[in-house]
Amino acid sequence: MPARNSTAALPVAAGGGALRLRWPFRRLLLKGDGQAESGLKRAHFRDWRLPFWLLAPQLFILLLFFFIPSIRALIQAFQLTDPFGATTQWVGFQNFERLFRSGVYWSSAQVTLIFTIAQNVLTLSLALLLAFASNHILRGRGVYRTVLLLPYAIAPAIAGIMLAFLFNPRVGPVAHMLQGIGFDWDPNRNSWHALSLIVMASSWKHICYNYIFLVAALLSVPQSILESAYLDGAGPIQRFLRISLPMITPTLFFLIVINFVYGLFETFAIVDATTRGGPAGATSILVYKVYQDGFVTLDLGSSAAQSVVLMALALFLTFAQFRFVERRVNYSV
């Protein structure tokens, strides 16, 4: 066995001479006869223990926070149960039937659809605009970027409360401004105002995330192509629309997927802090309804059924996006 402190490394036979393996990895990758192979295959591990322990932390986390809750939700979706667990009855598909018969659930689905699309369009277009603009600013570019990234560091609940307060028709300064110019702003009495409020809050929170990806993507657009377009007489907007935009479609596609997932699953805190699903369920998006039915009103069966539906929806959406949207994306330069 080679000395542990030895810095001796041997080139990996295939897959690139630049890669040199130090002791522990070399031991992993080498077969008994001392020959190294490219890539990691099961055969590289002499027994199951090491890979098991390497994977264990991640598997444990998955088990704890994904598999166990999912399985419990799946079971609970077919039960009618007392919150304390005193009485439990198997009710088959009753919870699902109830859900799909309920007008409230369908209107929540409709709200969710409008919300996620509006949020996606607003976030992406504003982030694109900002990324484009800040790429063209020379002085103080770093300051702009830092300022634009700040909202990401703010907790969603705080962002929500802040917006709820700013736009509160009684006491909010922004609301008073809107009322001052003759706009009868009142998210407590107007569903569309409330919905636009949570779209604003969630977009504001997520623009920075989109922004940083787009800035990086725009920077990676080869300068030579942009310069030749410039020489051909293309202005900055034309260069952006004709050259940069098509070249960053993979990033745009990635962000669309992320924004949908964000809108569907991560906007709970914002809704809770901004509108609490109101008025009259106008902003009760699906994920908020899961929380409200499960934790506020203790209707565990329905809440579980809803989370199963959401889980299926998430799987379907991700699949559909990769299957159909990605085909139109040009990955090659």
């Binding site: 919150p83 005193a86 109830r98 009495r189 009259a280």
Partner: protein, 437 residues
């Protein structure tokens, strides 16, 4: 435990016992939902108990709002780490009783040789928290809604005080807005389902649900979609759409709009006294809930919460719990609690004692809630409510009623839908708890 560690622990315990030279007191946990000033009062009352004797120590822990406390309790109970005492609101009564997780207060006190005399408690509290004369939980913070008003605004609009009936009050509110005294003559409270609907039906003696509002069995159904209650929601809608009554919305609490002087009136729990006294910088007063013209008003119903004893603890702990409850029911404690918080005294002795002190002469608004709760003989419609999954129904009702406010549907249809959704929840509760009270 291995012998060595056992010995070590034993030695440590001996050492500790020797050092402090007192027998360890029995410690019990009390999870509550009181925040702000009320949370401080809870800490004070617990400290009073802890200082009053040395055998037991109560540890008060604030666990968020009522929903969060209940959720925490459920999670803890399922993990077998439940606290000894938990505060839960009146709405959760059936959930708690049928949870299989509690020890009834009457039973506990009888076992501990401190039997409860139910007749000492005021009637609306007993009718709410007792089944067949047995207290299920220890009444703690009981309140009822009353009308707080800004006297300056009323004077400026040319009125002495708010009218006793809705027929008198409504034109006053309209006038306050029309004369420009205030842009907001009334603010809608967050718990209007309790103050504007449930209490309205009790005071005006109208059935809210069949079977004496659920007191006679789980096969109760809602009937609040007819008669005067429809009129009440129509009235609320008119007040909201004319801008006379404003909605606070998210970001602020309705009572803040009253105490800041922006809104002239609010119908809120008598426990709001704490907030009003602390923040209102104007001449304010309070009055009984308005009622319909021509009606002899009945008693209003309570809100607030009671203390529930959870199962699964050692006999010493139950001894400690009983001692704590006994302390809470004492007249001195009740009088202090009533005056410090604005909640009503839960025993008649405490009410009499406060009266004898001349407290109500100096603080007339503090008596309104007690008088309102105890007036007349309770009818079938004013005994209280025993509704399964009440939180769930509450959300549905508020959603439908606010849909009516928004003009999404007519009031009658909104109430029909609310009744429909509510009854569906009731039937499911009946299905799950078949054979229970």
């Amino acid at each position: 435990m291995r012998p060595f560690y056992g010995a070590l622990a034993g030695a440590g315990a001996l050492l500790l016992a020797g050092l402090s030279s007192v027998q360890a007191a029995t410690e019990i946990e009390f999870w509550h939902a009181m925040s702000g000033a009320l949370g401080e009062r809870v800490d004070e009352v617990v400290k009073k108990f802890n200082d009053s004797q040395k055998d037991y120590v109560v540890k008060a822990i604030a666990k968020g709002n009522y929903d969060e406390v209940l959720n925490g309790t459920i999670a803890a109970y399922r993990a077998k780490r439940q606290p000894e005492i938990v505060q839960s609101n009146e709405r959760s009564f059936l959930t708690m009783v049928n949870s299989g997780a509690i020890v009834s207060t009457s039973e506990l006190m009888a076992q501990q040789g401190r039997p409860v005399d139910v007749s000492k408690f005021i009637a609306p509290v007993v009718s709410y928290f007792a089944i067949d004369g047995k207290l299920q939980a220890m009444p703690f913070n009981s309140s009822t809604p009353i009308l707080f008003y800004n006297r300056d605004h009323f004077k400026a609009a040319g009125f002495d005080k708010p009218g006793a009936t809705w027929q008198e009050l409504e034109p006053q509110l309209d006038a306050i807005k029309a004369k420009g005294v205030s842009k907001c003559a009334m603010v809608l409270p967050g718990d209007y389902e309790w103050s504007f609907l449930e209490n309205y039906s009790a005071v005006n003696d109208i059935p809210y649900a069949t079977k004496r509002n659920g007191m006679d069995g789980l096969d109760t159904s809602f009937v609040f979609n007819k008669g005067k209650l429809v009129g009440q929601v129509e009235r609320m809608k008119r007040l909201v759409s004319s801008g006379v009554m404003q909605l606070a919305g998210q970001g602020i609490i309705p009572i803040q709009l009253f105490t800041s002087g922006e809104c002239s009136t609010i119908i809120a729990s008598t426990a709001s006294h704490a907030a009003v006294v602390a923040a209102a910088k104007f001449d304010w007063s309070a009055a009984e809930l308005p009622y319909e013209q021509g009606v002899t008003p009945k008693n209003s119903v309570i809100g607030g919460a009671a203390l529930w004893t959870l199962k699964g603890h050692t006999p010493e702990k139950y001894k400690a719990i009983a001692a704590f409850y006994d302390f809470l029911a004492k007249t001195d404690t009740q009088v202090w609690w009533h005056q410090a918080t604005g909640y009503v005294p839960v025993t008649t002795a405490a009410y009499d004692a406060a009266k004898a002190q001349g407290y109500y002469q100096k603080n007339p608004t503090r008596e309104i809630a007690v008088v309102q709760l105890m007036r007349g003989t309770p009818s079938d419609n004013s005994l209280g409510f025993r509704i399964g999954n009440s939180n769930q129904i509450n959300v549905a009702i508020m959603e439908e009623v606010s849909a009516a406010f928004l003009g999404k549907k007519p009031v009658q249809q909104a109430l029909d839908d609310a009744v429909g959704r509510g009854n569906e929840v009731l039937r499911r509760y009946e299905q799950l708890n078949a054979g229970k009270k």
